[in-house]
């Protein structure tokens, strides 16, 4: 046993898969200690982009500090002069005959654009020469206003009123006034933004990963246990029991598991589909392959000498199965279990995408998150990558790690596959 475990952990594939899987599991377990938010609580309306959100109201009440950033003014202009106005600047420069081939309206080129503009724009000159496209008074006024905005000193450009009625005081806010984010009463960091319900996607994703792993684990355990039991009984006991069990298994093989799942799930209705119910149903529709392989392996073991010896010694059926047969198929059962967990998670996700998932009002799952992303147009109209891409990545990582562990085990236990 110790030797086998050491061999398994020496397999690089198994190790990498194990580390990835364990880090996902640890994240799921540890994350709730640090973030106490309810994963289904809506924080806002609709998709919010990832980032830190600071309350505008509360920034007024936080202390102000003087910070002089060398490029503060340029950065401010970048965020206040829209692309449309930048295009007007370019058009004017072009009309004046300045070479603007190296410039465009992007943020990277904006500094250069301002420099060139300041060199070339002159109010009196624009009035006198009437450049093409800028000959009317209205156009010239637009240019003048744009120029004022560009050369304006942004310090003391805003004032804030605090308090009510007579007690109200108005203070000027200078361009170099800063607040410390920790001191603002309300701010929230949303590394993955929010989904369509305004839920914090990261918290939801962690919770959903946990639930999906649970679904996979329950489904995998049930499928493996059922498959093992049926396979052992059919293979070892044989006879009429074998015929009956294989009859049932045959029906389950030919009717596709996914179809059966769709039929059972829709028969249940959304309200009665809890997480555990879903997992159990996935489990009881996917035991067949395990049962078949266990059965065929048991049949080949049944007539080995050590089993016959055990029989002659008068050992009980239970003892023969547990000591003489199970150890030989244990490695196979472990590998089958890993694959069953992975396919259980996938089955839940696919069913949820069809609108047949667990009750959506109770807990999030990875499949439900994909379904919401689809229903609320995260791929198309809202273009909210944070609502679906991390989910796909998480599903891929889980099945990748489980597959790696499986191939690693395969290489250890089937020496013919080894290099």
């Amino acid at each position: 046993m110790k030797h086998t475990l050491r061999n398994v952990f020496h397999s690089p594939r198994f190790l990498v898969g194990f580390i990835i899987f364990m880090s996902i599991l640890l994240t799921v377990l540890i994350y709730p200690w640090f973030v106490h938010r309810d994963p289904l609580q809506g924080l806002g309306k609709g998709f919010l982009e990832p980032g830190t959100y600071v309350s505008v109201y509360d920034t007024n009440n936080a202390g102000t500090y003087r910070v002089e950033l060398p490029e503060a003014n340029e950065n401010r202009l970048e965020s206040t002069i829209p692309v449309k106005d930048r295009q007007t600047m370019l058009d004017f420069l072009k009309a004046k005959g300045v070479d603007v081939s190296a410039l465009d309206t992007s943020n990277e080129k904006f500094h250069e654009l301002i420099e060139v503009w300041k060199e070339n724009y002159d109010e009196a000159d624009a009035k006198k020469n009437k450049y093409e496209g800028f000959s009317t008074q209205a156009k010239r006024n637009e240019l003048r206003r744009l120029n004022n905005r560009l050369s304006e000193d942004t310090s003391a450009a805003m004032s804030v009123t605090k308090g009510e009625g007579d007690a109200a005081t108005t203070t000027a806010v200078a361009g170099s006034d800063y607040v410390k984010v920790d001191e603002v009463a309300n701010s929230i960091n949303l590394p993955l933004g929010t989904d369509n319900f305004g839920r914090d996607t990261l918290t939801e994703l962690v919770k959903a990963t946990g639930i999906s792993l649970l679904v996979g684990l329950i489904a995998g355990s049930i499928a493996t246990a059922l498959g093992l039991l049926v396979g052992l009984l059919a293979g070892y006991v044989g006879g009429i029991l074998d015929d009956i069990l294989m009859f049932i298994a045959n029906i389950f093989t030919v009717i596709p598991g996914f179809v059966l799942l769709i039929l059972i799930y829709s028969a249940l209705g959304a309200e009665s589909r809890g997480i555990v119910t879903c997992a159990v149903i996935i489990g009881i529709t996917s035991w067949v392959w395990t049962a078949r392989s266990v059965r065929s392996q048991v049949i080949s073991l049944r007539n080995r000498d050590h089993v016959n010896l055990s029989k002659l010694s008068g050992h009980s059926l239970f003892r023969i199965v547990t000591t003489d047969i199970l150890p030989y198929i244990a490695s196979y059962v472990v590998m089958a279990f890993i694959l069953q967990v992975s396919s259980g998670i996938l089955a839940e996700a696919q069913l949820s995408m069809l609108g047949l998932g667990p009750n959506p009002n109770e807990l999030p799952t990875l499949g439900l998150m994909m379904n919401w992303a689809k229903l609320f147009g995260a791929y198309t109209s809202s273009n909210a990558w944070w609502a679906y891409f991390p989910v796909i990545l998480m599903i891929a990582l889980i099945s990748f790690s489980l597959n790696l562990m499986n191939t690693g085990l395969d290489q250890v236990f089937n020496p013919t596959l080894r290099d």
Binding site: F247, I251, I255, P256, I262, G269, Q350, Y379, A396
Partner: protein, 335 residues
């Protein structure tokens, strides 16, 4: 035909019939356990707001009679079997009075035209890549294996979503959904056909990509297993040319892959479900999705029955073909 062969076929046909009956019964019972009365929702949709209680009752009775729901469960089962055999599958609940066969008939060809070429192309490319990977092992194992393992772990719907976002939404190379421009009426004009082709690309390539991954991994491990088999070593000792050995090896490695192809063609309708719902492709998967969301159980039953029967036929044919092409099965079954 030998005696053993006859016995083998008899056994197979017996199983085919038994599982078919079980499938029909399951397809009948399970959707009928769905909560919610379908007649209620239809009457609720169609009746005028000022209707009296009596009118509502009358309408309910009318629809119940139309759908045969006033009969007992055996009468309903008889209707179900009769409708399944005459090919109409009864009347749809959500699109009353449309026949289920009409709904399925208008969508199944989209599924077949999308899936069949995609599965075959994916199968061919996947096997080629898998065989190549097995033959040139050192290069592939070091460079590509971990990558392939990761990409084959991406679920089918995830890959479809990523393709959709990259090529349709961001780059705008392909339309986002549907099988043709919604403003067009199906006809044999050049404009319509080009629209169909443009809408075909994304779902097609997403299915091809997904099946390449699975097939390549399977073909690679089968080929490696065969390359290490004793007969290969023996052939090498005999001095048979490598080229000739490789041909034998890949022919043997192909056998399980043929099973894979037949099964994926058999289960193509079921496999289409997720891809079709993501691309809103108007195939059978989409019809089934709509039926699930509107509790239209004649349509659900018909779709699942079609899927089951296709899988049944595929596995039955496979059993028969295998009996002839695989000498091991031949030896085991015919004696």
């Amino acid at each position: 035909m030998t005696k053993g062969m006859k016995k083998y076929f008899k056994k197979k046909i017996f199983w085919f019939i038994i599982t078919f009956i079980a499938a029909v019964i399951l397809n009948f019972i399970l959707p009928r356990l769905m909560p919610g009365d379908p007649v209620n929702s239809i009457v609720g949709k169609n009746i005028s707001p000022g209707a009296t209680q009596e009118q509502v009752q009358e309408q309910m009775a009318y629809y119940q009679h139309q759908f045969g729901l006033d009969k007992n469960i055996f009468g309903q089962f008889w209707d179900f079997v009769k409708n399944a055999f005459n090919g109409t599958f009864g009347v749809s609940y959500s699109q009353y009075p449309r026949l289920v066969s009409d709904i399925i008939g208008s969508s199944i060809w989209w599924t077949v035209a999308l899936q069949l070429p995609a599965i075959i192309v994916g199968w061919l490319l996947g096997n080629l890549l898998g065989a190549l990977a097995a033959y040139k092992r050192s290069f592939y194992d070091k460079a590509l294996m971990p990558l392939t393992l990761f990409f084959s772990a991406i679920p089918a719907f995830g890959a479809a979503v990523i393709l959709l976002v990259i090529f349709a939404v961001t780059l705008g190379w392909a339309p986002v959904n549907g099988a043709f421009d919604p403003g067009m009426i199906p006809s044999f004009s050049w404009k319509f056909i080009s629209s169909v082709i443009a809408h075909y690309q994304l779902p097609f390539w997403s299915i091809v990509l997904i099946s390449i991954g699975g097939q390549a991994v399977g073909m690679r491990s089968m080929s490696i297993y065969e390359l290490n088999a004793d007969y290969v070593k023996y052939a090498r000792f005999l001095g048979i040319k490598d080229k000739k050995i490789v041909r034998y090896v890949f022919r043997n490695a192909m056998l399980p892959q043929v099973t894979g192809l037949a099964m994926s063609i058999g289960s193509m309708v079921g496999g289409a479900l997720v891809a079709e719902t993501i691309f809103s492709y108007p195939g059978l998967g989409m019809s089934m999705y709509a039926a699930i969301n509107s509790s239209d159980y004649p349509v659900i039953s018909a779709c699942t029955l079609i899927i089951t029967v296709m899988v049944l036929i595929a596995s039955f044919l496979l059993d028969i073909i295998y009996a002839f092409i695989d000498p091991r099965v031949k030896a085991a079954q015919f004696d």
